[in-house]
Amino acid sequence: MTDHAHQNCQALLGSLSEYIDGELPPELCKEIEKHLEGCDNCRIVLNTTRRTIDLVQLPVEENVPDDVRERLFKRLNLDDYLHPHG
């Protein structure tokens, strides 16, 4: 983050999460996008932060293991509801 208005980079960093989550008002988004056009480093930070969130979210589809589920149902005296995942 060098060579230009450094304080814009810091301001962007402070709003980065909300920008990624689409929680900022449109006029602020426009300002950020204008800054991003001229700032390689901020663009890299934005792209890699987005990708970081994607990557950590990816392997979440697996269910609780069957043996863990079975012990849980037994512990809760719900054995009679222990049919396969429905």
Binding site: M1, Q10, G14, S17, T48, I53, E62, R69, L78
Partner: protein
């Protein structure tokens, strides 16, 4: 997880001890709660303890649950407390409740500027890559990791995360930004190094 569908439970049935409804609740939430335990504590046995204690606790306290928050927020709150209690037991010196340095307004500046986001998914998610992601999450301080898991892994809103952890929304936002930045920095070092290694091969 889509909360609008998961909150479709009859509170009346749950409170009056309807076992079928409770079994449905258990089946809906056991996967995210187990995952929360796994990511917070890092091992399967602790995750299973958190899972069982959460539902035992829920069963005990259901008659007192007034429904002021949604069932999912209430359950996540119990699970988060179980996880934090277990962490406190394992690491008595970790401060997970009070206002933390992580809540300060200034965020550490990024240091690595390599655009690895364009690498193909196959490369990012190689077995070594997956391991690096797991290690990066584990390295986050507990107070940041909890916020990150609820918001970015479980996809809960800032408001729900704040309600679950009894934090202000501003604190949740600050912790989330710090967590995301810390993860980005770690993954950036890893993928930059990996790209360099490939180039010199």
């Amino acid at each position: 997880m889509n909360i609008s569908t998961t909150n479709d439970f009859s509170l009346e049935a749950l409170r009056s001890g309807d076992r079928a409804e409770f079994a449905r609740l258990v089946d809906t939430f056991s996967t995210p709660i187990y995952r929360l335990g796994l990511k917070m504590l890092g091992n399967a046995q602790d995750a299973e303890d958190i899972l069982q204690n959460t539902f035992l606790n829920a069963l005990t306290h259901l008659p007192d649950f007034e429904g002021r928050s949604s069932v999912s927020t209430w359950l996540y709150r119990i699970a988060a407390n179980e996880a934090l209690m277990l962490i406190r037991k394992r690491k008595p010196n970790v401060n997970i409740e009070d206002i933390q340095p992580e809540d300060a307004d200034d965020v550490p500046l990024p240091e690595t500027f390599v655009d690895w986001s364009v690498l193909p998914e196959k490369e990012l998610l190689s077995s070594e890559g997956k391991k690096a992601i797991e290690v990066a999450v584990k390295k986050l301080p507990e107070s940041l990791r909890m916020v990150f898991i609820l918001r970015d892994v479980e996809d809960l809103s800032i408001k729900e995360t704040a309600e679950i952890l009894n934090l202000t929304e501003v604190n949740v936002k600050t912790r989330l930004l710090r967590a995301r930045m810390a993860l980005r920095e770690q993954l950036s070092s890893y993928y930059a190094e990996r790209t360099r290694r490939k180039e010199t091969q």
